[in-house]
Amino acid sequence: MLSPTYFLPKERFPDFLNALKSLGQVFAPVKVSKQSYSFKAVEKASEIAFEALRTILPPKKFFYPQSETLVKFEDGEIKECIEEPVFKVIFGVHPCDLAGLGIMDTIFEDSPGDTHYLRKRRTSMIIGLSCMPDKHCFCQSMGTDCPEKGYDVFLTDIEDGYFIEGKSSQGQKLLADAFADKVLERAREAHKDRYKRFWLDRSEAFETGFKVDNLRSTMDLEWENPVWEELGDRCLSCGNCTPVCPTCYCFDLVDVAALSSKQDGSGDAERRREWDSCQFVGFAKVAGDYNFRPGPVDRLKFWYRHKLHGFDDAYGFKTCVGCGRCTVSCPSGIDDIVKVVNILQVARQEKDEGQPK
């Protein structure tokens, strides 16, 4: 049976927000500067930036914080550190970020599951929200433009209100309760028509993109393309492109000794994980001073390859969801996946055409 769909008139949004607040702390995009948005705790509907496209950091930060303690060494014993998470409702997550969460889920669920991430993730509700692409959005190329997983409830903006679908059982329950409380109405045919029209219009609205089916061979065959050296020369190895990415999960594990500890590690200590970046010079260094990716170009190529087909084998998906965050946050303007892929594809095509049949 298809689960019921609902309609929420915009003037009743504050009531819907109250329903969300009754579940836990609500976070939503908030305008933090002239051009940037950030997921922050909100109390009132007026604080929410409904127009926000990409927040500075993706919602991964709620489940995979920049720094967290995993294990402790205390009084000579090794103990695990797992905090009891508080229920969080994340409102206003767009399709690219939902796909991103889905990818993070797969990585952290893969055996052995990451208790720290999963506990926080399973104590949350994700409310998706539709969006209209800008010139940097290319989720359509990556096939992540329609919400598939990673969310509980999804809202599509149909002008005077929202067309609402429930995905998970906790999402459906929220909607059923809100319906019983007369916050929501059942969606009518007219709403469904506008909903369909919205998604059709949206699929026509993408300004940028590329063909994805030959991505793997293009990347592999153009591994020596001169464009890489050019980009490598301009990369600052600042690592901006990775924390902003909804699917970058790499971390470092570091020890923090308690102040009372001695240098030899005989005192109390914490083992912490912190976000790391494959763009940093030491990322692929091993004992004996070998570095598998010594130059910026090596690291940049690695990153592109990982985003565009690195997980095809391990998990059967690509790890770019087309949000455009890396493009807008690269100080050198070289993290332009669309542009680079187009250059590589053109090069490929020219070679193919130049070949005798």
Partner: protein
């Protein structure tokens, strides 16, 4: 299902003995009472934690792991230096075993060639110990061990005994004579590749290789000259496995996590992966950290 325990939790390992070996290498023997490491197979590794300092991946170097586990450690960074300051009776954290190890079951019934370069001898030791423990299940055993300087030799005492055995052919070489005279160990001057050319290697041998990244290309070339099938060449790849459980990304090679899919790979699995085995001298760079 959310696992109840964090996968980053170590168990306590207590240092039972420390045997100094050549060139800042110590052989540590740890007692571990929970038995969580006892299923350790040749080629697998553990994460060793010195609380307050850090963790590092170390391959297991004994063929049998029960309540005691042996790790060969070279003093190289902060973690290993801290470990070197410890004494018998002190404890560290250990977690694992991780990775796939060498496919010992698949090697059975065949000739097995073990190729070790430098510190790669530590994981290869777990292979020969295992093979000698199950001697009748293997065909010919050939052990090839190359190192930079004559005084780099590890497990010198063990080799004295091994060299007397007739059921394993051992070839040892160093590139240069350095340091004091050695006990009478049959050692020549040369490289691993020279030894590989000397040894009698049947074309249907299985090969287990572990050594510095620069060594692999040359070893593979010679094995191909000897008509060894690529599918039978198993290489242990070195990466910095920080988490050991396929999450942190540091050991990512092509499309795989070295810590989970590796560190041992059959050559066909990785030969087309960029940066899997090639590592030229130009990529040698400053110190760790």
């Amino acid at each position: 299902m959310i696992p109840g325990k964090t996968p980053y939790l170590s168990v306590k390992g207590t240092i039972r003995s420390i045997v100094p070996m050549a060139q800042d290498n110590y052989l540590f023997d740890f007692t571990e009472r929970t038995g969580s490491l006892s299923g350790c197979r040749p080629g697998q590794f553990v994460e060793l934690w010195v609380p307050g300092v850090g963790e590092c991946p170390i391959s297991v170097c004994s063929g049998r792991v029960s309540e005691s586990i042996q790790l060969m450690v070279r003093r190289a960074g902060r973690v290993t230096s801290a470990l070197f300051n410890m004494s018998e009776g002190d404890s560290v954290g250990l977690r694992g075993p991780y990775g796939q190890g060498f496919p010992m079951e698949a090697f059975k019934g065949r000739d097995l060639v073990m190729v070790a370069g430098g510190l790669g001898v530590a994981p290869i030791r777990s292979v020969w110990q295992y093979a000698l423990d199950h001697r009748e299940e293997f065909g010919r055993l050939v052990l090839i061990y190359g190192m930079r300087h004559t005084n780099d030799i590890l497990f010198r005492q063990e080799f004295k005994f091994l060299l007397r055995r007739r059921d394993i052919d051992i070839f040892i070489a160093a590139e240069e004579v350095v340091g004091p005279a050695l006990p009478p160990i049959a050692m020549q001057l040369g490289r691993v590749t020279d030894l590989l050319r000397q040894a009698e290697i049947s074309s249907d041998s299985c090969v287990a290789v572990c050594g510095p990244p620069v060594m692999y290309k040359y070893v593979i070339d010679v094995l191909k000259e000897r008509n060894v099938d690529e599918a039978n060449i198993h290489l242990s790849l070195e990466r910095h496995m920080k988490c050991g459980i396929g999450k942190c990304g540091h050991c990512f090679i092509g499309g795989k996590f070295n810590c989970k899919a590796g560190p041992v790979f059959a050559l066909p699995e990785i030969k087309h992966v960029p940066e899997a085995i090639e590592c030229d001298a130009a990529s040698l760079q400053g110190g760790l950290e």
